[in-house]
Structure formats: structure tokens, C-alpha cells
Amino acid sequence: MPRSGKSAPRPAPVPGTGHLLASDRVPGNASDERLSEDQLLAVLQEVKDPEVPVVSVVELGILRHLEWQGDCLRVEVTPTYSGCPATELIEQMIQQALQAAGIRQVEIIRRLTPAWTTDWITVEGREKLRAYGIAPPQGSASKLSLLGQDEKIICPQCGSENTRRVSEFGSTACKALYQCQDCQEPFDYFKCI
């Protein structure tokens, strides 16, 4: 229970923004020196998918291109699904993270082509999904045939192959709902697209 006379704890900062307030558009560490691509990727590695907060935008493969144009950093981002409701939020989080890292001018470009594919999720990203309880996409998106079945989906909890699809759509458009017939746990499967 909070004791009287003690101020409430400050809310946790938004991931990737450090302790900045929303109004701190140009942080104190703003510098004219350009960050290298590795440094930029390290910053963006901290920007997580708001719906799957263990994988970063880099690991998801939705960060497509980084390029300096003068003092402005152009960032190309691709949405996972056409109607993904997190698209704007993710773009905003990327912008905030880069500004917090001292970059004054960031231009976010939404790129639709080539269309995002689960093949772009990195090996580390897949492992993190699995550890989080979401079965990562199995096989290659190009092999998915119409009206066909996905490969055997492995339960992220117990590793069993004895699973069944409950629904083509899970908690979000990018996932399907499965259940393990051995440990009985229901789980989300990140669909191949």
C-alpha cells in the first residue's frame, strides 16, 4: 500500500524513449554527428512490436531501409498487414526512439512493396516468439498454396507436433489459433504470409 506523504512512482517510460517527455522534441544529446548503421540498428533493436513486446522492428523484418539524406534520416517501414492497427504506433515509436538518440530530423516512409513476408523474421526473432509462447511461422511463405495446409505446427510449450488448428485467425490478423493435443495448451501461431 502506498504510504501517505510519498509521491506516487513515476510511470515507466515509453520503450525506446528514455526519460523524455513527449514535448522534448530535440533532446539535450542532439548532435550533428551521424550515427552509423550499426548504431542506428542498436537503437531500433529497442523498439518492440507493441502487440508482441519481445521482438523488435528489426527482428520482425518491417524495417526495410535506413538512409541519410543530408541531416535527415529516412526510415522505410513496411506494415505487416494492410489493416494492421499498430502501423501508426510503430512508426511513432521509431521516430521517438531515433529522436531520443539525438537525431533531429527523421522522415518515416511507409513502403508497401515488396509486401512484407514472414520469411523476413530473423532467426533470433523466431526464437523469441517461441519463447514467448507464439509458434513462429514454419516453412516458407512461397510454398503456401491456396486451400492447402500449413506444415505441422509445433507446440511452443511442450514441443509436440500433435496440434490442431482451432481457427484460421487468432488474437490478431497475423496469427492463427491452435491447440496442442498433448499438453492441451491453446496457442497462437504466427501465420506464413
Binding site: L146, E168, F169, L177, I193
Partner: protein, 254 residues
């Protein structure tokens, strides 16, 4: 009509059908027969609304009159809407909802598949993204048509009724007008005969597997949605969908 005007018109047709069906499906939010179905319906609706936004953004850019994608969605009246008559039909029972979805998904799938090859890169890009999503929509709605058609006596009867009820709105899916012919000739839009043949082939195969009776080829067909002549249902959908942005114009945070 020059080619750019035809393309604008065509983009509105693609966007309007996706948006109106998305809106229809959202009416089932909180009322779907099972929680898994509810999630699936809302996810399909979300895909469709997202696709509509992509089409509208392109249409608005081509139009270059300062209208945004939101303006196109919220500030046009029924006679300016270019959606297929099929998608504005009421949800009915679940057989009707899924039969409507299947007829549309089959059309949508083959249309997008052809548009991926369009000579217009932007059009092809939006289509390629949507096609991945619609492949899942079609797989799911086909399964429901089969499950209900080849299910119990009651589910079979309901699915058969749904097919008969909606069949008269399917003529529009496979017949084209001047706008689409012009774009097809220019390599921008699908070829009518190919689209009709693909759609017919898949629908016949799924209905047969579902033990459902095929409908006569010379059945009477309603048309006009793509030209802005709608059934009375559209006005009610727009009234609900557009009320807020019309009542509070330019509201940024709702």
C-alpha cells in the same frame, strides 16, 4: 473518360467493396456465434478496411483535389459509392454471411491475382499485399461453405437458401463495363473472360464439394453497384458509418 479517370473510378470500386464488406462484418462484433468466429470475422474486416485505405490513398492522390482517404470514405453519399451490390447485403444467418464472403473472396482473390500483373506498379504493389491476406480469407470461407453445405440437414438447407438468395448479386462480379474494359485493354485491370472463368470454376468446385445445387447460368442478375445504383441497404450502412465524422467534421481524437 481518359485512362486516369478510369483508373480513379476503378480504385474507388476496389476500395468501396472492401470497406462496405468490412463495415458489414463489424456489425457482428459482439454477436458472432462463437468467440473464434468473432475474432476471425473482425480480423478479416480489419484486413479489408486496411486494403480500402490503400486504394483510397492512391485514388485521392490521382484525383489531386485535396481530398484524403478519410474524405472518400466518410464524405461520399450512396450514389457516389462504387461497391458491388453483393457486399452491402445484410449479414442474415451465418450461412448467408459465409456464402456472401465466399462469393466475394473468390472474386477478390482472382481479381488481385490478375492485378499483381498490372502495368501500374502502385496498383500491383497494393494488390500483392492484399492477395496474401485474401488467400486466407478465401481458404476460410470455402471451408465454411463446405462445412455447412455438407453438414447436417438443417445447415445444408440454410446454406442452399443462402446461395439462392445471393446468387442474383453475383452477375456483377464477372461482367465488366466500359471502365474495366478500357483498363483491361491497357493492361491495368483483369481480363473479363479470364476472371469469369476462374470465378465460375472455383465456385462450381466448392459448391459441388459442399453438395450444394449449382444455380442456372441464365438466372436474372441485379447490376449497377459499380455504377452507383445501389440497393436500399447501402444508405443505412453509410448512415451508421459516416455519422461521427459528419457530425464532428475534422475531429482528430474521438
Amino acid at each position: 473518360m481518359d485512362q486516369q479517370q478510369a483508373l480513379q473510378e476503378y480504385l474507388l470500386r476496389l476500395g468501396d467493396s472492401a470497406l462496405i464488406l468490412g463495415q458489414r462484418l463489424c456489425e457482428l462484433c459482439g454477436k458472432a456465434p462463437a468467440v473464434e468466429e468473432e475474432m476471425a470475422l473482425m480480423n478479416v474486416a480489419l484486413d479489408l478496411v486496411g486494403q480500402a485505405r490503400n486504394w483510397y490513398e492512391y485514388a485521392a492522390e490521382l484525383e489531386n483535389q485535396g481530398r484524403s482517404a478519410d474524405d472518400l470514405a466518410y464524405l461520399r453519399d450512396a450514389h457516389e459509392y462504387r461497391n458491388l451490390l453483393l457486399v452491402e447485403q445484410p449479414n442474415g444467418n451465418y450461412a448467408v454471411t459465409m456464402a456472401r464472403q465466399f462469393f466475394y473472396d473468390a472474386w477478390h482473390y482472382f481479381t488481385l491475382k490478375a492485378l499483381v500483373e498490372s502495368s501500374d506498379e502502385r496498383l500491383a504493389g497494393i494488390a500483392a499485399k492484399a492477395l496474401k491476406e485474401v488467400t486466407y480469407h478465401l481458404r476460410r470461407s470455402s471451408e465454411w461453405v463446405k462445412r455447412l453445405g455438407d453438414g447436417t440437414e438443417e445447415s445444408h438447407a440454410k446454406m442452399q437458401e443462402a446461395v439462392e438468395l445471393l446468387w442474383r448479386f453475383t452477375g456483377e462480379l464477372t461482367s465488366t463495363d466500359e471502365v474495366e474494359k478500357q483498363l483491361a485493354t491497357a493492361g491495368l485491370a483483369p481480363n473479363e473472360e479470364q476472371l469469369a472463368c476462374d470465378w465460375q470454376g472455383l465456385v462450381e468446385a466448392v459448391l459441388s464439394e459442399a453438395t450444394l445445387e449449382l444455380q442456372p447460368e441464365d438466372a436474372w442478375m441485379y447490376k449497377g453497384g459499380k455504377q452507383g445504383e445501389h440497393t436500399e441497404h447501402l444508405g443505412y450502412i453509410l448512415a451508421e458509418m459516416q455519422f461521427l465524422p459528419r457530425a464532428y467534421p475534422d475531429a482528430k481524437i474521438w
